[in-house]
């Protein structure tokens, strides 16, 4: 086998376009017989075959532009001996063209597009670690795989104005070119991945210039504006495009509020016992298990107890059906510098305390390092969010669809409370439940919360 590469046709030439293949796969070819025609910035040329054989595979189609050294075809030298009657005269497989370096290095890969973030709930597990990689730098205009993006001045202008990453848009024009229709369809369909680094493509606007021509052009219907767009642009301002994750969150929040009639209830829980247990066991737990002991696994365990007792809270609504989930898959909202994500602890009902603690820390860590797999952010049946970590006394979260309820944790602090007609100091926390009144009534919600509260205040489970 011999690779055929895109040759370098002169200094400062770094790519070439294949204009025509002179052979089809399966055709026999002699060494130095013209194999394909190319066009570069400087020359148009016929490229001779580097070796004799049978053209086995064409890797780069007519009209495509590739960097020099890219393998454009493969020639099977054995095919020549097999197919030629004068086998003895078949030349040995020759390496690629003499004047060009032999092997092709893989073309540079542009960064993979950010995965569409699943829609998270309201708040966070804890403050996210600073992530320098928050905004993926936009690669040079190439498709993953190094193929040059073909567009037009108009398409590039539309991309610039709408902050669209052209590498994410499939081109249907001649030679895979992105046409006006392609980019308009992508923007209208919302499938265009906007460049996540707004600063790179959208110059920050600190001016009183007129509104951008197509402010929310790519926004889906649920992101409609509540006031006319012109009323948003006054004085000095800066326009930042939403990241894909931000758009998904926004869409999801609007939908959740639109679909689910939210009701909220607040409970106060005495977590003095748990706080004492945690202080006492903290070091030992970490030494023994290798994972940190936080408050979160206590709340997850308590929530699972509540869900098992009141399965309606662990359900989804499909029209007039209630889908009662047998698993307790607990979504945990994790705040990120660049947004919010909700990884899911699957089958939490089967895990002991340590298993939950490990799963929590693992998911949170991988959420912050962008290493979650798509299936790890799907199929939650109930979610927990922790605005308390940012100091919130309590929060009223938005339900994470398709759940019907979400538990919000307030900040844990010592407060004076009345115990047996005396004022005592206890570690207290406010728990809130936002629930979908289509299927969860106040009675069930409060019974559920009662179960959670009881589990937390009368903790008996061994944590190690």
């Amino acid at each position: 086998m011999a690779d055929v590469i895109m040759p370098q046709m002169g200094e400062s030439i770094f790519e070439g376009t294949i204009t025509k293949w002179l052979k089809k796969p399966g055709d026999k070819i002699e060494r130095d017989e013209p194999l394909f025609e190319i066009s570069t910035d400087k020359v148009d040329a016929e490229i001779p075959s580097p070796s004799a054989g049978v053209l086995k595979e064409i890797k780069v189609n007519e009209g495509q532009t590739v960097p020099i050294q890219t393998v454009v075809a493969v020639i099977d030298a054995d095919g020549a001996s097999a197919g030629t009657s004068t086998a003895a005269s078949a030349p040995a497989p020759a390496p690629a063209k003499a004047e060009a370096p032999a092997q092709a290095s893989a073309p540079p890969k542009s960064e993979a597009p950010p995965k569409p973030a699943p829609s998270p709930a309201a708040s966070a597990l804890r403050a996210a670690a600073p992530s320098p990689a928050a905004a993926s730098s936009s690669a040079p205009p190439q498709r993953p795989g190094g193929e040059k993006i073909r567009s037009s001045p108009l398409v590039r202008r539309i991309a610039r104005e709408n902050n669209v990453d052209l590498s994410q848009i499939p081109g249907t024009g001649a030679g895979g070119r992105i046409s006006k229709h392609d980019i308009r369809a992508a923007i209208e369909g919302g499938s265009a991945s906007r460049t996540s680094s707004g600063a790179a493509t959208a110059p920050a606007r600190a001016t009183s210039a007129p509104p951008p021509a197509a402010g929310g052009a790519a926004a889906s219907a649920v992101l409609e504006t509540a006031v006319p767009r012109e009323k948003m642009y006054f004085g000095h301002y800066e326009v930042q495009p939403m990241s894909v994750m931000r758009q998904r969150i926004a869409e999801h929040m609007v939908l959740s509020k639109r679909v689910s009639p939210h009701v909220y209830s607040v409970d106060e829980v005495n977590v003095s016992g748990i706080a004492a247990l945690r202080s006492k066991m903290k070091d030992k737990f970490e030494q023994s298990s290798g994972t940190k002991l936080t408050f979160m696994p206590f709340f997850v365990r308590a929530a699972v107890e509540g869900l098992r007792a009141f399965p309606t809270v662990n359900s989804s609504v499909d029209g007039t059906n209630i889908v009662l989930h047998k698993e307790c898959n607990i979504g945990i909202a994790v705040a990120l510098d660049w947004g919010l994500i909700v990884p899911v602890i699957k089958n939490a009902e089967e895990k002991n305390f340590l298993g939950i603690a490990r799963a929590l820390n693992d998911l949170a860590e991988r959420a912050r390092t962008k290493k979650l797999k798509p299936e790890e952010v799907a199929e939650s049946t109930f979610s927990i969010t922790n605005p308390g970590v940012f100091g919130g006394l309590f929060g009223l979260p938005v339900i994470n669809q398709p759940n019907v309820a979400i538990l919000g944790l307030g900040t844990i602090e010592k407060r004076p409370v009345v115990v047996d007609d005396a004022i005592a100091i206890r570690s207290m926390v406010y728990l809130t439940l936002s629930y979908d009144h289509r299927v969860v009534d106040g009675a069930v919600a409060h019974q559920f919360m009662g179960k959670v509260k009881h589990t937390l205040e009368n903790w008996t489970e061994s944590i190690l």
């Binding site: 001045p153 108009l154 398409v155 024009g173 070119r177 046409s179 006006k180």
Partner: protein, 324 residues
């Protein structure tokens, strides 16, 4: 009102303008007694007399030189070239004297220089010229090249009333092939304004003279394939209607220029530059052109067919551009 040919429209314009203004005179080879090679001036001599309808000797230089002098002295001559090809004979008079006169001496020459032009009638290399680009590059001239009877009449009347020299090219293929009803009452068509002949959204076909009809025919074929072409008739080449060209390109984002003139140095190049200057970021494809080949017009009918653009060639180029 009966439909009239483009030739009749031109004839009416000359008659009406000579009727309207005694300063308007006509001169050219065989325009009087014979009525003109194409009979555009038939009846003119009988109506206006030999002082105003002058059969000239066979010297284009002399004719244009004389007309230039008439212009200086207050007349408004309409000069006919028997075939527009012969305008090359008076190139010096037109470019060095007539075109520069206003700039040089403050003495505008209100002259119309008109004549049958264009191919498609097997006229061969000396009787098929599209000479517009020799003069596009000459400041001081205006160039009109109409495609309909209505426009030919209205624009010729505007040309006669213009105080500066106007070249008025009459595509001989269109002389008797197109007919249309025109208003009974007097009208003129402004110089320098293009017109949209067919609205479309997918690409713009920019053309003039006979190629407007070719482009419209191609547009009908394209429409059946789902390609919605806009067809624009420039009508005036100098000055070009920049606003109309850019507006259409900004609407359709793709431009195909079709001209019967040869390719290299043809008006498509000038229009391409103008569009790049004014609408580069509105282009969704390369500016394409369909033109005659870079040879003299062949006499042989099959060769001439090959040489000239036709609706098939225009449709093929438009398809490629639409796909781009």
């Amino acid at each position: 009102m009966a439909a009239i040919t483009m030739l009749e429209g031109i004839r009416q314009a000359i008659f009406e303008e000579m009727d309207r203004d005694p300063a308007v005179v006509a001169l050219g080879e065989d325009i009087g007694v014979y009525g003109g090679a194409f009979k555009v001036t038939e009846g003119l001599l009988a109506r206006f007399g030999p002082e105003r309808v002058i059969d000239a000797p066979i010297s284009e230089t002399a004719i244009v030189g004389a007309a230039c002098g008439m212009g200086y002295l207050g007349l408004r001559p309409i000069v006919e070239m028997q075939f527009i090809d012969f305008i090359a004979c008076c190139f010096n008079q037109v470019t060095n004297f007539v075109a520069k006169s206003h700039y040089r001496w403050g003495a505008p020459v209100p002259m119309v220089l008109r004549g049958p032009s264009g191919g498609g009638v097997h006229g061969g290399p000396f009787h098929s010229a599209n000479p517009e680009m020799y003069f596009m590059h000459t400041p001081g001239l205006k160039i009109i090249y109409p495609s309909t009877a209505y426009d030919a009449k209205g624009l010729l009347k505007s040309a006669v009333r213009d105080n500066n020299p106007v070249l008025f090219f009459e595509h001989k293929y269109l002389y008797r092939r197109i007919k249309e009803e025109i208003p009974a009452e007097e009208y003129t068509v402004p110089i320098g304004k293009a017109v949209v002949r067919r609205e479309g959204k997918d690409l713009t076909i920019l053309s003039y003279a006979a190629m407007v009809h070719t482009s419209l025919e191609a547009a009908e074929t394209l429409a059946k394939e789902g390609i919605d072409a806009e067809v624009i008739d420039l009508r005036t080449l100098l000055p070009l209607d920049r606003d109309a060209i850019l507006a259409s390109v900004k609407k359709t984002n793709k431009l195909l220029v079709v001209h019967e003139d040869t390719r290299t140095g043809g008006i498509a190049g000038e229009i391409a530059a103008l569009v790049c200057e004014g609408a580069f970021e509105d282009l969704d494809g390369p500016i394409a052109r369909v033109t005659a080949l870079d040879t003299p017009t062949p006499y042989s009918p099959p060769l001439e067919e090959r040489f000239l653009p036709n609706a098939e060639k225009v449709a093929a180029a438009a398809r490629d551009l639409a796909k781009y």
